[in-house]
Symmetry: C2
Subunit: 217 residues, 2 copies
């Protein structure tokens, strides 16, 4: 009985890792669509967000039915409740990739990102993807060391976000208010995506250690 | 035993209603701070967000311990899981009020909002507060009619958000990129706050009816 339950718990964890994998691909593709004005790729990200939503839906139903059938207490219950929260974070991260793809689609056949910000957006995406890869390992291996690393990676995202705002405020900014609005929102989407990954890492950290990771950031 | 458990469930619901009340006050005060450059009030909203966070923390601990002790199934379990999700929505709504207050503080002693957008922000806040008041009643009375109303109220928020963007894109916009960035983010904070309220209403609707409210928006 216990063995069967452990298998179910492992299955929940694997599905969360699978969701993280899909979110990672979504962010990568949304960024490519954004920087190369690739409408087909943007549409693909938008359509595939429904897949992530459906996985979350099924996973949550499975998780709740496990709670109902097994009546877990203590660590098992906390693991399942934490899974519900992590799936919500991952679903939201998928939404943010979807928002980025929608921004690409809205500006097609132009690109939403002006040349002087392409590299910064590319870098934000790169750090965001690194964070998502790490968070998948944090979930998979309950790796608390790596969970702590994510706090620092998040500072990197915040620095890049500030760099975008500084570029927009530069007196030489020549792309007008519409592009500034796009860039403000795009910067925020990547930043929020990373925030959710950090939340997941903190949840795992707390689950494993019973202590809070750095809550200052 | 059942009676005691029902009392506990009612207590969880009351605490959610209490959280909604605090979020409502936070949005009202943050908006006043924003429009009148009231630093003291902005600081108050920022400080009081910790109270909302603490209530969520305690409520979730209570909810999880109820699940552990009572081993609820079917509707009772779904009610408790939904409570965990609603408390997360309300906590996030508090964060968004906090963000609005921080924007007021950052621009002090100026106001972040230029005169031609004051009324629109006031209106966004008013609709947002109306939505939060309704969602408190939806939680309290499991009022599915009102839950459906919130979908329409949310359209009002989206319309106001579009109005802000249109104002920023008007060739006569004379407040520069920094104010445009502020207004883009402020518009998004109110919009997201309303989105979370709509999520709560949908959760209650599903809990009561077993069907989804309008998922198109």
């Amino acid at each position: 009985m216990r063995e069967r339950f452990q298998e179910e718990l492992d299955g929940v964890s694997s599905t969360l890792v699978e969701m993280a994998g899909l979110v990672k691909i979504a962010i990568e593709n949304a960024t490519t669509a954004l920087l190369t004005a690739d409408l087909t790729l943007a549409e693909k990200v938008i359509a595939e967000d429904l897949v992530i939503d459906q996985i979350q839906h099924d996973l949550d139903a499975r998780t709740i039915s496990l709670i109902a059938q097994q009546g877990p207490v203590a660590t098992d219950l906390r693991t399942l409740v934490t899974s519900l929260r992590m799936s919500a974070d991952l679903e939201r991260m998928g939404d943010l990739a979807h928002h980025i793809a929608k921004s690409a689609r809205m500006r097609y056949p132009s690109t939403a990102v002006p040349p002087e910000l392409s590299l910064t957006i590319e870098e934000m995406s790169r750090v965001c993807v690194k964070i998502i890869e790490k968070v998948a390992l944090v979930i998979k291996n309950r790796d608390t060391e790596r969970a702590l690393e994510l706090e620092r990676d998040d500072d990197e995202i915040d620095g890049l976000h500030r760099k975008i705002i500084q570029t927009l405020l530069d007196p030489n900014w020549k792309h007008g208010v519409e592009t500034a609005i796009d860039m403000t929102l795009l910067g925020r989407y990547y930043e929020r995506c990373a925030d959710h990954a950090v939340s997941i890492a903190r949840r795992v950290y707390f689950l494993v250690t019973g202590r809070y990771a750095n809550e200052n950031s």
